[in-house]
């Protein structure tokens, strides 16, 4: 392995970080908003809407992300309605298609994670809030939300890292993200090992930063764990 070559790839690969990270952040944002709506629809069990949400989750969890990405990027353009629509300038863009596919996919998983967090909250916690006159919104904001976030965070941390790695699929639709640049360098220098090891290293660093950030947040929210650290009262 040529270490000098590998090191020389690093700055070029880092130039692809804004693309990778912008896809990650935007798709996670879509996932959170749409995931919350799906979670609400599924838990309220309103007829039709709940079944539609169930089907959505089944569909996006049950098919490969790459297939979803290809269907959106290559598939949608085949319909004239889509080409004529206001959304076409966006749907023509590879970056937008990647964000859309990853976001729609993440929404399915995020809704499940949220549901798990909400189910984890003890009934008595909600009941106490009801008994003290909290409105539905206040229960969500002051009791259910904070506790559900605490329960959902470990799974959501996992989802974030899966999505980070999922962004690599964007390179298959001509996007010059980290992996896209690695593929280019590999072909240019006939050095696949060096270029992909360097890219892998950068993903690893990103994943570590995410993991550490999440465990820091988890520690801040971990009200049970304080017993062990023996906090002294102020």
């Amino acid at each position: 392995m040529n270490w000098d070559l590998l090191l020389s790839f690093v700055p070029q690969l880092v130039a692809g970080l804004p693309v990778t990270l912008s896809i990650l952040v935007c798709s996670l944002a879509i996932g959170l908003v749409l995931g919350a709506l799906l979670c609400w629809a599924r838990m309220r069990r309103a007829p039709v809407i709940a079944q539609a949400a169930d089907f959505y989750v089944l569909f996006f969890r049950g098919t490969p992300l790459l297939v979803q990405l290809f269907a959106i990027y290559y598939g949608l353009g085949q319909f004239e309605v889509v080409r004529d629509s206001f959304a076409w300038p966006l749907l023509r863009e590879a970056w937008f298609c990647a964000v859309l596919a990853l976001g729609l996919n993440s929404a399915a998983f995020t809704s499940e994670i949220m549901r798990g967090g909400i189910i984890g909250v003890e009934r008595g916690q909600i009941e106490a809030a009801e008994a003290y006159g909290f409105s539905r919104l206040q229960i969500a904001r002051l009791v259910l939300g904070p506790q559900a976030v605490r329960f959902a965070l470990p799974s959501y941390s996992n989802e974030t890292i899966l999505m980070l790695k999922g962004t690599a699929l964007a390179s298959t639709i001509s996007i010059m993200d980290l992996t896209g640049i690695a593929r280019k360098l590999s072909a240019l220098h006939f050095a696949p090992f060096e270029s992909f090891i360097a890219a892998g290293g950068i993903y690893l660093v990103l994943a570590m930063v995410l993991t550490l950030s999440y465990s820091a947040i988890e520690k801040r929210l971990a009200w049970e764990r304080e017993r062990k650290t023996n906090v002294s009262p102020v």
Binding site: G124, Q125, E127, A128, A129, E130, A131, Y132, G133, F134, S135, R136, Q138, L142, V143, P146, Q147, R150, L221, W223, E224, E226, R227, V231, P233, V234
Partner: protein, 254 residues
């Protein structure tokens, strides 16, 4: 107590779970400052009755009046409609639960102050100060920044009592407040409740502590299979039960 006014009254309250009728036409009136204890074997409907009073369970029928004013309630497919009126009833009748149900993601002080701030609209500083005073009153002044899990069961229940008092309640509801406690912690909680009774709070309590019920109650109600089988002063009920069922029950628990 001769000039006492009725604080809380219930007329013909009934409740079924599916086809099982758990409460049959229960009527009751609690006068200002009165302590009413509800006893009965498990499954007699006593907790359900208490939970109907603040509409945690929705009665099938029956009228609830607070300070002489009837409280309107109705339900739809999603359950009870939580109207302003229902919320006002609940803040007036805060409940102390068997398993405390303190909010586990907040300090004890925040547990006591949060409903006054967000539900009663009290200024934060005032609510926090009052929370502190109440926690001192139940012997937890030093622990107000602890989280519930850092406290013993008895301490948690005392904090839960402070949380109820912070609502400036019209009456307090106690649902088996000592049943989840280790035996050696029961006394400290009963002592606090006893002080509240002595201070003139109107209280309705479901309990299995017969000696305690006898000491603090103005009136004891014996529920049997969802009906008021007998009611009277503690002396009447404990010393000379008039019904076979009450005599049997008392013999089995005392």
């Amino acid at each position: 107590m001769s000039a006492a006014t009725t604080r809380l009254s219930v007329q013909n309250l009934s409740k079924s779970f599916g086809s099982l009728r758990v409460l049959h036409d229960i009527s009751l009136a609690a006068d200002e400052g009165q302590v009413i204890t509800i006893i009965g074997s498990s499954g007699s409907g006593k907790s359900t009755f208490l939970r109907c009073l603040n509409l945690l369970e929705v009665p099938d029928g029956g009228a609830i009046s607070l300070d002489g004013r009837p409280v309107a309630y109705s339900s739809n497919a999603h359950g009870l409609k939580v109207t302003k009126e229902v919320r006002a009833l609940r803040t007036a009748l805060p409940m102390v639960f068997q398993s405390f149900n303190l909010w586990r993601h907040m300090s004890v002080r925040d547990n006591v102050a949060i409903a006054p701030i967000h539900v009663l609209g009290k200024p934060r500083a005032e609510a926090n100060e009052r929370a502190h005073d109440l926690l001192v009153r139940v012997g937890l002044g030093e622990r107000m920044h602890f989280y519930p899990h850092q406290l013993s069961g008895g301490q948690q229940q005392r904090a839960a009592i402070a949380r109820a008092l912070a609502m400036e309640p019209r009456a307090l509801l106690f649902d088996e407040p000592t049943s989840a406690l280790d035996p050696e912690l029961v006394g400290e909680v009963l002592k606090v409740i006893e002080e509240l009774a002595a201070a003139g709070n109107t209280m309705l309590m479901v309990t299995h502590e017969m000696g305690f019920a006898r000491n603090v109650s103005d009136r004891v109600i014996f529920l049997d299979q969802g009906r008021v089988a007998e009611s009277g002063t503690p002396e009447e009920l404990f010393d000379a039960p008039r019904t076979e069922r009450a005599a049997q029950f008392l013999a089995s628990v005392m």
